[in-house]
C-alpha cells in the first residue's frame, strides 16, 4: 500500500474497494479526516449516531438488506455496544468496527483509562475478533484484511488503532 497518502485516506479507499455503503460513526478526532471523506462520497451513506450501539443495530439492518456497513468509534464507545454485540453473534452478522484508542499511549485524561484497559477483553468476551495496529503504515492493510475476514466469515471484527498512531490529545 502506497504510503504517500494518509492512513484515513487509505481506509477510505479500502471502503470503496470493499463496497462499504453505510458508514456509521460517533465522532472521534482520530476519525475526523475519514468522516470528512465519507461525508463527501456519494456512494456512501454517512450516518452520525447518538450512541455507538445504534451502529451495531444498523449493521444488522444493512446486512439484512444486502449492504455492508462499518462502525467508527473510539474506545470509550466500545462499552456502549456490549449487549447489542450479542445480536451480531447470535445472527452471525458481519460487522467491521474501527476503534481509535483513547486512554492509552501518552494519555492526559485519567477518565479515559478504565475503558481503554477493558476494550480488548470486553470485545473478546462478546466474540469479536480483535486486531490491533501500532503503526500508521499498517493501518490500511489491517483494515483491508479485517474487512475481508468480517464479510467472508460472517463475524464481528474490531481493528483497534493505537493512540500511538493518532497522537495523544493535547489539552492546551
Amino acid at each position: 500500500m502506497a504510503s504517500q497518502t494518509s492512513w484515513p485516506d487509505q481506509i477510505h479507499r479500502v471502503f470503496r474497494d470493499q463496497n462499504m455503503r453505510q458508514i456509521a460513526y460517533v465522532p472521534d478526532s482520530g476519525h475526523a479526516r475519514l468522516i470528512e471523506l465519507v461525508r463527501a462520497d456519494r456512494q456512501m451513506h454517512a450516518i452520525p449516531l447518538t450512541t455507538e450501539e445504534e451502529g451495531v443495530a444498523l449493521a444488522v439492518g444493512a446486512w439484512l438488506g444486502g449492504e455492508r456497513s462499518v462502525l467508527l468509534l473510539q474506545s470509550s464507545g466500545v462499552g456502549n455496544c456490549i449487549n447489542m454485540l450479542g445480536m451480531i453473534q447470535e445472527c452471525r452478522v458481519p460487522l467491521l468496527m474501527l476503534v481509535t484508542m483513547r486512554g492509552q499511549w501518552g494519555e492526559f485524561n485519567p477518565w479515559q483509562v478504565p475503558m481503554a484497559q477493558a476494550t480488548t477483553p470486553a470485545l473478546a468476551a462478546m466474540g469479536v475478533v480483535v486486531q490491533t495496529v501500532e503503526r500508521a503504515g499498517e493501518v490500511a492493510e489491517t483494515v483491508e484484511a479485517a474487512g475481508r475476514l468480517a464479510f467472508s466469515t460472517y463475524r464481528a471484527v474490531a481493528v483497534l488503532i493505537s493512540q500511538r498512531v493518532i497522537g495523544a490529545k493535547a489539552f492546551k
Binding site: 447518538t50 443495530a57 444488522v60 439484512l64 438488506g65 444486502g66 456497513s69 447489542m84 445480536m87 447470535e90
Partner: protein
C-alpha cells in the same frame, strides 16, 4: 404532567393484524416481546425479522434496512419499553430522513414481559411528540379503530420517516412464537429478499 391520562382501548393483536394484512411486499422488523408474537400471529413470513434480544435496537435495524432497500417499504413494529431504550434512534433517523421507513409502537404503557411495571409513556412521555421533534415527517398517537384505519395508507405510502404510537390495552393474547434461531431468521430473510446473492 397536567394532561389527563386517556385509557387505551385498542387490542394489540387486532391492531397488528389490521396493519399487516396490507403489508404487500413490505419488510418487517418486530421488536422483542409481544410485538414479535403479534407479528407472528398475523402470519409468519420470511421477510419478518424477529428481534428476540438487543432491546432498543428495532428502529435502528429498520433504518439500516430502509437505507439498503430504498424501493421497499420497511415497517418496524415494536413496544413502548423497547422504543424508550433506544430514543436516540429517533434523532438518528430524523437526520437520515428515510422516505420508506415507518416506525410503529404498540404502546400499552407497561413492561409486559417483566411484571407489568409502568413505562414512561404511562407517566406523561409522548413518543409521537419526540418523533415529530426529531424530524419525522408524519407522527401521531392512535387511540381508535377509525383513527388506525385512516392512518393505514400513511403507514405504507406517506413519505417517511413516519411514526405512530398505537395505544393498546394490557390484555394478553395467546403466545404465538416465531422461529428464534438468529442465523435462521437472518438467512431466510436475506434469501427471500436477495435470492442467490444472499449466499455470497
Amino acid at each position: 404532567m397536567t394532561t389527563r391520562h386517556r385509557k387505551p382501548t385498542l387490542d394489540r393483536r387486532q391492531a397488528a393484524a389490521v396493519i399487516l394484512k396490507q403489508r404487500g411486499d413490505a419488510l418487517v422488523v418486530a421488536g422483542l416481546g409481544a410485538p414479535c408474537w403479534d407479528t407472528a400471529a398475523a402470519g409468519d413470513n420470511p421477510l419478518n425479522f424477529y428481534v428476540w434480544g438487543g432491546m432498543g435496537s428495532a428502529a435502528m435495524i429498520g433504518l439500516g434496512l430502509a437505507l439498503a432497500q430504498p424501493k421497499r417499504r420497511v415497517l418496524v413494529i415494536t413496544g413502548d419499553g423497547e422504543m424508550l431504550m433506544g430514543l436516540g434512534a429517533f434523532a438518528t433517523i430524523g437526520v437520515q430522513q428515510p422516505r420508506n421507513l415507518a416506525v410503529i409502537v404498540e404502546d400499552n404503557e407497561h413492561y409486559g414481559e417483566t411484571g407489568m411495571q409502568l413505562t414512561h409513556t404511562r407517566l406523561g412521555v409522548d413518543l409521537a411528540g419526540i418523533a415529530k421533534a426529531a424530524g419525522f415527517r408524519a407522527s401521531t398517537t392512535i387511540y381508535s379503530a377509525a383513527q388506525l384505519k385512516a392512518w393505514l395508507p400513511k403507514l405504507y405510502r406517506q413519505p417517511g420517516p413516519v411514526f405512530a404510537a398505537i395505544k393498546v390495552t394490557t390484555d394478553r393474547a395467546p403466545l404465538v412464537l416465531p422461529p428464534r434461531d438468529g442465523t435462521i431468521l437472518r438467512h431466510r430473510f436475506r434469501r427471500a429478499l436477495l435470492g442467490a446473492k444472499a449466499d455470497e
